[in-house]
């Protein structure tokens, strides 16, 4: 419980006003730190354990932090990586794909390591679908409550600090 022991009402009004003005900026900075600690770091390590390419991991960030004065704020966890041909690799890993044909690209050949030691080539072939991981969705669902708890504690500390000044 925070109690303003200051008797002077004008000082009390000033403290409240100052805190109210500083609050949105505090929320923006604090949420950025909390989102990276609580959501982004576990998400990156889970992506690594799923065998995601480092390019997809590097392309997963926190964006669009919006603070409202009506009592809510939001941000987006975005995972974005496209191949050279424009194929959305991050979305394919997240949502999965069906069995499909790799298209023939004029002047280019597909190349990969088969069986761990043989380099294989092809102009286009059928590949099996990728299992959906939904790692971004599940991690966000799991970690949102913890992020809220951390923000609540940070808010308490911020208000207490404001009162001491």
């Amino acid at each position: 419980m925070i109690v303003l022991s200051v008797i002077d009402p004008s000082k009390q009004a000033f403290v409240v006003f100052k805190t109210q003005v500083q609050y949105p900026r505090f929320v923006r900075e604090e949420v950025k730190k909390i989102a990276e600690d609580v959501i982004l770091k576990p998400l990156h390590s889970r992506m690594k354990s799923f065998g995601y390419s480092q390019k997809i991991i590097d392309g997963t960030t926190i964006e669009n932090i919006i603070v409202n004065r009506t009592g809510s704020m939001s941000f987006d966890v975005v995972s974005d990586y496209d191949s050279e041909s424009g194929f959305d690799v991050a979305k394919a890993r997240e949502e999965g794909t069906d069995d499909h044909d790799l298209p023939k690209v004029p002047g280019r050949i597909y190349s990969w390591i088969s069986g761990g030691f043989v380099r294989a080539f092809s102009r286009g072939h059928r590949v099996k679908g990728i299992t959906a991981t939904n790692v971004v969705q599940k991690t966000v669902q799991e970690k949102t409550t913890e992020a809220q708890a951390r923000l609540n504690e940070a808010t308490d500390r911020f208000i207490a600090r404001s009162l001491k000044e």
Binding site: I2, V77, D80, D88, Q137, K138, V140, Q148, A149
Partner: protein
């Protein structure tokens, strides 16, 4: 289009500041309590139980600190099962238990491949071919079933050419204990050895035998 998940959190609103709910006298709530009340009104009780579990987990003495395997972990294990099996094949483990019958199609296919339905056929064929090749080559090596070194040695010893054989039997080429005798150099051997060598030479030239 990128993958995007929106996260919405509750914070203090202007009305919370203005009506003095935070900075009032005794009996007023902490800012976090106000936020929690607001969030409780918006979300289900499941979120509160998760929050309580997180708080308890932070306390290592609590029994709730034992973390259960989440649905995420189960999915991760399921997805990684295919990669694990493929890596075992690549290392050659679990594929072969012996060399017998390896080079036959039934030998390769029957070598404990319960996961055949999961692994792509190309990977199996390539890995099996590599191991079969190594086993086949090792058969020609030392003590292998197809070791031909002894045969070569025997042939070299047994067949030195017709001309050489006729030279030896006629006495033109001599196998003596002391080769210095043939070259006309001081032999440095005993009289007994000379007698032996002389007898051998005579018998070879006259009778066509070493003995």
């Amino acid at each position: 289009m990128a993958v995007s998940e929106r996260v919405t959190l509750s914070i203090l609103s202007d009305s919370d500041f203005n009506r003095g709910g935070i900075f009032g006298g005794q009996g007023e709530a902490l800012p976090s309590s106000i936020i929690k009340k607001k969030r409780k009104a918006e979300s289900s009780r499941a979120a509160d139980s998760v929050l309580a579990a997180i708080n308890k987990a932070a306390d290592k003495k609590s029994s709730a600190a034992v973390v259960k395997v989440s649905e995420f972990t189960q999915l991760k294990n399921q997805v990684n099962a295919q990669e694990k099996i493929l890596s075992i094949f690549q290392k050659g483990q679990g594929l072969l238990q012996g060399a017998s019958g390896l080079t036959t199609a039934s030998g390769i296919a029957g070598a404990g491949l319960g996961a055949l339905r999961i692994i792509p056929g190309a990977a199996i064929a390539v890995t099996a071919a590599k191991i079969a090749y190594e086993k086949f080559v090792s058969q020609f090596g030392k003590a292998g079933t197809r070791d031909t070194r002894k045969k070569v040695l025997a042939e070299d010893v047994s067949d030195i050419g017709v001309e050489s054989e006729s030279d030896i039997t006629s006495g033109r080429k001599l196998f003596l204990s002391n080769p210095m005798r043939l070259q006309g150099l001081p032999r440095g051997t005993s009289n007994t050895a000379d007698l032996r060598d002389g007898t051998r030479i005579h018998k070879q030239r006259k009778e066509g035998s070493y003995l």
